[in-house]
Amino acid sequence: MKKITRFVLTDILRNRIVIAYAVLMAVLSWTVFNMEDTGSKGVLTLLNIVLLVVPLVSVLFSTIYIYNSAEFIELLLSQPVKRPQIWLSLFGGLSISFIIAFALAVGLPLFLYADFHQAVILFATGCLLSAIFVALAFLAAIMSRDKAKGVGVSILLWLYFALLFDGLVLFLMFQFADYPIEKPMVLLSATSPLDLARILNLMQIDASAMMGYTGAIFKNYFGSGWGVVLSFGLLLAWALVPFWISLRIFKRKDL
């Protein structure tokens, strides 16, 4: 198990696309912090990048990688190895390498330049988002045998969480503007990992504004210690549940 994980890990960490991704993120983070005059503005710009780029690269690369690993999976399956182990190792390898890439590229400038609390939250959510979108890639890849279809599904998933979901929420918000919708809205936001991650970060960066108006609601849900723990728990669930579903399918899948 460990051996396969290490195998996948070394393979991905030497992959040109992953290296390019890490370099890109590193260049972006360093320039962001060097260009913006305040650390917290840098964190904001970085947050936007992290929320867009990390999920896209994680989900897309992972989906393609899983399809490309079909033969490797076959090779492993012909060995005395348990099926779930292979899938778990692949997931472990992919998510760990994306977390490593993110941590090295973004973590260093983040902790050097940004306010510590903001840095911790952005770092943690970035790592979790990497794992979440790797997990979604597993779901997308297991759903279809056809590579083009799987990649399409993964792009759609990204598009949905990055853009469409927010549009939907905005639409609902204005449709039901006359009702007390704060609580349902908070609940709704939990159904998108990107929104959850964004709000967690905003609680740190835009603390002043987030404490206003609906402050009570936000503070109760996301501001309190339990809220943060719960939100991170939900994010973790977003990584584990899609992977778990894909694992169940993989166990019975014909290769």
């Binding site: 005059d37 305040t38 917290s40 503005k41 904001l44 947050l47 936007n48 929320l51 867009l52 990055a162 853009l163 927010d166 549009g167 929420v169 905005l170 918000m173 204005f174 503007a177 919708i181 704060e182 809205m185 908070v186 936001s189 990107l194 929104d195 964004r198 709000i199 905003l202 835009d206 603390a207 002043s208 504004a209 987030m210 404490m211 206003g212 108006y213 609906t214 402050g215 009570a216 609601i217 936000f218």
Partner: protein
């Protein structure tokens, strides 16, 4: 001429001989401050040694100098108003005044100045009192370098730190106030100055003006109060070089301006407040050279404001620079620095060549639909905001700074 000189000198000498010093405390004959006051004559000095004095309500009805050595403790046992001053020119220095009564009907205070002028309250510690220092019908009084600490939990169950009512020409200087309802409260107070105080962690406002005209406050710090400063129903108030920090929460402002006019706000720092300045019904105010940093909203200008001039301020790292609820623009916003401004300066005159719209679409959306804050900074909202900046549809078109600065002012 010489004769007159001699007479003046001799009169002065007799006077000083007449003014006695009475010592109170363990090592001395007199152990009660009340007794000492009874014995004394106007102009005497009462020197109080360190110790605990539980004497109920002490009334100073003569012109006396009360000096404490090593902060003798005057204790109101949670029942009495501790010190009541009714004589002009009384000086109270170096006491620890604590545990005043907490009845709310007659407003007991640690020290109350009642219809007395030229009173000086200096260098005292006021600890756990209902009201700290209470000035009623006082003129030319000085409240200086005191430290006022209380532990209020709810607005109704605690009084103000320095409470001034129907007074004139007061000086409130260098006090440290925390845990009261309002740090400093002015009602019908005129011609007074508030300088270098630090008001933190008070339940309602750091400083509260009601119907008080021609006052100024300088170089104070208002931090982490329910709201920083509220100036209401007043005229000609000068507010300069103050710090407004971390006033967070629903309805929390650095500075709340309500029904005020003809005032001047300059050189202040607004940092990390939910709203830096909230203004409604405000007119003819000049606001210049202030710095707004990391606030939720730097300024919220309600539609009821008019003829205000907002110029030469710095707006840096605020979530929203401006918010408003109206569509008409009756105020002038000019020559400020906005860090969100992405203008260019081809003629190199230090001002951007295109106007800046400080009102973001999303701040208008949030004004109408507060829960929309959940979507703030999402990709979609950023896109909408950007397009709104180019083609304003939701925000008033004339709400703009025609000559935004390219570089922040050195504030």
């Amino acid at each position: 001429m010489k004769k007159i000189g001699c007479i003046v000198l001799s009169v002065l000498l007799t006077c000083s001989l007449l003014a006695a010093t009475i010592r109170v405390g363990k090592p001395h004959a007199i152990n009660s401050i009340k007794a000492a006051i009874k014995q004394s004559r106007a102009g005497d000095t009462i020197l109080v040694a360190a110790g605990l004095y539980k004497e109920g309500n002490i009334v100073v009805n003569k012109r006396l100098v009360l000096l404490g050595e090593n902060f003798p403790e005057l204790d109101g046992q949670h029942k009495y108003e501790v010190l009541t001053i009714t004589a002009d020119s009384t000086i109270v220095k170096g006491f620890r005044v604590q545990h005043s009564g907490h009845a709310s009907l007659d407003d007991p205070g640690g020290i109350k100045i009642l219809e007395a002028n030229y009173v000086v309250i200096e260098g005292n510690v006021l600890y756990d009192n209902f009201f700290g220092v209470y000035v009623q019908y006082g003129k030319h009084c000085v409240i200086k370098n005191n430290s006022l600490v209380a532990f209020g939990k709810e607005e109704q169950q605690i009084g103000n730190g320095v409470h001034c009512w129907k007074s004139d020409s007061l000086q409130i200087i260098g006090n440290n106030i925390s845990g009261h309802r309002d740090g400093i409260y002015f009602e019908f107070v005129t011609g007074s100055v508030i300088w270098r105080n630090i008001s933190t962690g008070n339940i309602r406002y750091g400083l509260h003006f009601m119907f008080s005209n021609n006052d100024s406050y300088f170089t104070n710090t208002f931090k982490n109060n329910g709201a920083g400063v509220a100036v209401m129903y007043s005229k000609q108030v000068t507010m300069m070089n103050n710090n407004f920090e971390q006033n967070w929460g629903d309805a929390a402002y650095g500075l709340l301006l309500k029904e005020i006019s003809d005032s001047y706000i300059s050189g202040n720092q607004f940092r990390k407040n939910t709203s830096g300045i909230w203004m409604e019904g405000t007119s003819r105010i000049k606001m210049e050279r202030n710095a707004f940093v990391q606030n939720g909203w730097a300024m919220q200008v309600q539609a009821s404001c008019m003829d205000n001039l907002i110029t030469d301020n710095n707006f840096i790292a605020n979530t929203f620079d401006m918010g408003t609820n109206g569509d008409v623009v009756l105020n002038t916003v000019a020559s400020n620095y906005w860090d969100k401004c992405e203008g260019y300066d081809l003629d190199r005159n230090g001002f951007a060549d295109v106007p800046f719209r400080p009102l973001s679409m999303f701040s208008v959306v949030v004004e109408k639909n507060p829960s929309a804050m959940l979507l703030f900074r999402s990709f979609l909202v950023s896109l909408l905001d950007r397009s709104e900046k180019i083609f304003p549809s939701l925000t008033p078109e004339q709400f703009l700074d025609k000559s935004p600065r390219m570089k922040p002012l050195p504030l």
